[in-house]
């Protein structure tokens, strides 16, 4: 186990190094630098201003020199300053991580709460119920998040005035109130995938000999599902969740923009558009780390749930 974990950790460090180098170079090669953005549309700034500012920010140096300079500082724990937020990049992301977690974690739980019972029910009952649930899953997969968010905002914030249209809220009650719409939108947009995976895995397991034996022995449907089907159907769900973790971490950008949640997705979006190299780089590294961690946890969970799977 320890050997396995050490090996995965070393692999992760190598991946993070490669991602940091690749991202830095790609960001550097993108057209335009921060100074171009500063001076575009402002005829007051002269040639000398642009050259002076490039020198001050070190943008007149070759890209590899800049990268190794950044890497040296990063190894000392200094991840640079975010020009876009005028704060250390780590500080911006520290706040953003919590915002994203406060949206993504309940959304994931709610998606499970919707997808698992409905998936099992569809597999068990079949017929019109199966078709209805499948249709709901398809709608969930097809609905653009942007559209769903705007519709819910207009319905619950503008027409009914039950919920705030966006923002972070003040105090615990305020925060919870402001989370309802973004969490609902995010969970509805991911529940469809989980539902289809659950249904497919459960349908396959229901055809297995040991399940037929359990049925023949008179095990009730609920017990059958909980004891025999769910633990085995959980394996593909865990894999999917591990893969989704990174995407959830950074991919909630639309929800965060529309509901004014300053989370990882929104920060990453602003950083890339604003040529904020330090922030974009650290945000992407965090996202990569989240994906790697999600996969590691998925592998460990597999081994725990199914002893036949070894860790090598």
């Amino acid at each position: 186990m320890l050997r396995y974990l050490t090996q995965r950790l070393l692999e992760s460090v190598a991946v993070l190094f490669l991602v940091s180098a690749g991202t830095y170079v790609l960001l550097g090669l993108m057209p335009g630098d921060p100074i171009d953005l500063m001076i575009s549309g402002n005829p007051e700034l002269t040639i000398e201003d642009a050259q002076r500012l490039r020198a001050v920010y070190g943008l007149d140096q070759p890209i590899l020199d800049r990268y190794f300079g950044w890497l040296g500082q990063a190894l000392r724990g200094e991840f640079g300053y975010s020009r876009h937020f005028s704060q250390p990049a780590v500080s911006v992301l520290g706040d953003a991580v919590w915002v994203t977690l406060s949206v993504a974690a309940p959304a994931l739980l709610l998606a499970f709460a919707i997808a698992i019972p409905l998936g099992l029910l569809a597999a068990l009952r079949g017929g019109w119920l199966n078709r209805g649930i499948n249709l709901a899953a398809l709608i969930s997969l097809s609905l653009p998040t942007f559209w769903l968010a705007i519709v819910l905002i207009y319905l619950f914030a503008v027409e009914l005035r039950w919920l705030p249209a966006g923002g972070m809220g003040e105090g615990l009650a305020g925060r919870l109130e402001h989370l309802i719409l973004p969490v609902s939108v995010l969970s509805l947009s991911i529940a469809g995938v989980f539902l289809r995976f659950t249904r497919a895995a459960a349908a396959e397991i229901l055809g297995q000999d040991y399940v037929r034996t359990a049925k023949a022995k008179g095990v009730a449907s609920v017990g059958l599902m909980l004891r025999h089907v769910l633990p085995n159907a959980a394996l593909p769900l865990i894999t999917l969740t591990g893969l989704q973790l990174g995407a959830l971490f950074s991919g909630t950008v639309i929800v965060e923009i529309l509901f004014r949640q300053l989370g990882m997705g929104r920060v990453l979006y602003d950083a890339v558009l604003g040529n904020d190299f330090n922030l974009a780089l650290v945000a992407l590294l965090l996202t990569t780390a989240a994906t790697l961690l999600g996969n590691l946890l998925a592998d460990l969970s597999h081994a725990w749930l199914d002893p036949r799977i070894g860790l090598r």
Binding site: M30, P31, G32, D33, D36, L37, I39, S40, G41, N42, P43, E44, L45, T46, I47, E48, D49, A50, Q51, R52, L53, V56, Y57, Y81, R83, H84, F85, S86, Q87, V92, A113, I150, I153, Y154, F156, A157, V158, L160, R161, W162, L163, P164, A165, G166, G167, M168, A173, L176, E177, I180, S184, I257, L258, F259, R260, L262, R266, V267, L273, G274
Partner: protein, 547 residues
Amino acid sequence: MRILLLSLLFASTLALPSARADRLTIGVSQYAASLNHLLEASVAQSYLLGMTTRPLTLYDAEWNLVCGVCKRLPSFENGLAQRRPLAGGGMGVAVTYELKPDLAWDDGTPVTAQDFKLAWEIGGDPAVGALVGEGYRRILEVTVVDDHTITFLNDRVTFNYNASAIIPLPAHLEEAIYRQDPGSYATRTLYDTNPAAPGLAFGPYRIVEARAGSELLLERNPHWSGKQPVFDQVKLVTINNTAALEANLLSGAIDMIAGELGIAVPQALAFERRHGADYRVLFRPSLAYEHIDVNLDRPFVADRRVRQALLYAIDRQAIVDRLFGDKQPVAISNLSPLSANHSDDVPHYPYDPEKAAQLLEEAGWRLDGKQRKNAGGDSLVLTIGTTAGDRTRELVQQVLQSQWRAVGVEVRILNAPARTFFGQEVRERDYGDLALFAWFAAPGSVPRTTLRSSEIPTAENGWAGQNYTGYRNPEVDRLIDELEITIDAEARKVLWADLQRIYMTDLPALPLYWRATAFILPKWLGNVRPTGNLSPTTYWIEDWLRN
């Protein structure tokens, strides 16, 4: 589903009030990256600074230069401005500003001339990397006469010698931070490390809470000695998406959408049609000059007759009427019609496809089927680029394409994201034939960087400069140089008229229209006066009324 409904029911019982009665909540589309005015030059920042600070001078809604925190405008007549020979030769001007009495930072410390001197010193320090304009750079020396009087020695006598956008920095807080290490001042300034710290504001409001990238809460500055504003608190809420901005307004989460940083005219017109009974929508033409830069190094458009034909072939009034509800005036030159120096005595280009066709024929482009070809058999095919995703510009592009096609000119649309478009294509003059975008400039600002031949970006100068058309005209260079140093208003008018006439004859760029800003206000909010220039409405926030 039951859980969802129960959650909604629970939430509805919380029913927190959306806004306090004495708070005005303003929706804006951008957040200022830095709250230190030396480190950023954005509309988002100047909108905020309008509430927390004031410059020495500013332009009012009638585009007159007025005092911000000075007692009276310096002039040669009142003796506060005096010509001074410079040590290295040439003539400078010493301009003295007397500060209004009783100005104080929000911690009670008086605002003094020393605060202005510090701002100038930090702004001009190359180690800091401040983003300051001409006003700072041209000051050679600052003399603090007394706590309430300061003199700037400018390196030349210019037409706007008495204008100064300098905003003070609190020396009692910022000086030690700066002196400790100027190179890292930008990352240690209190404006960004602790924007709610007392002592950073001296306007009618001070920041009491800041959520970077998201929200700012301001409340009255207890030490503001001017007219008291109506609202106890002002909240600035950043919402990047237009649909969400509208939804927040309709839900009551915000009270108004700022025109300076809000939604575009077409969206505002649509909003007015749907909700005009409940809100007041104000439109004000601005100094944003929407135009098409022409790459004069490209062979087909290098011919002036082709450029003139292109302009004749555009029905700009129809574009303005149909897309912008006639809220944005057609640009008949490169100077706003609201400017005192605007001239009508320029070549005019009304919609005239026949004249366009005639000019193209004269230039050697004959109609062959639906396309025009020259003697060498080349088809007249041009490219036009703009910022991808800008719905208004993309719509205008399609109209242009259709109107030019009607006179036999084929135009291909090649758009790019803003950072590619401005950061590479326009900056390196690699945008094909035509580039559609806007310039912003202060009232009366001389177009040195955009029209003078010395400002053409090249590989040799590191693509610096903003004369993206590659325009070279010695007479225009001379006029620009003259305009900068001519003070007499009538003489300036003559120079400006010459400049506009040459510009509209040569057409290095094709003028389209002056963009308007759209303010969406609640009916109970009065006396918000859009300026159309670079001074945001918040500079007069103490005059806003609750009807």
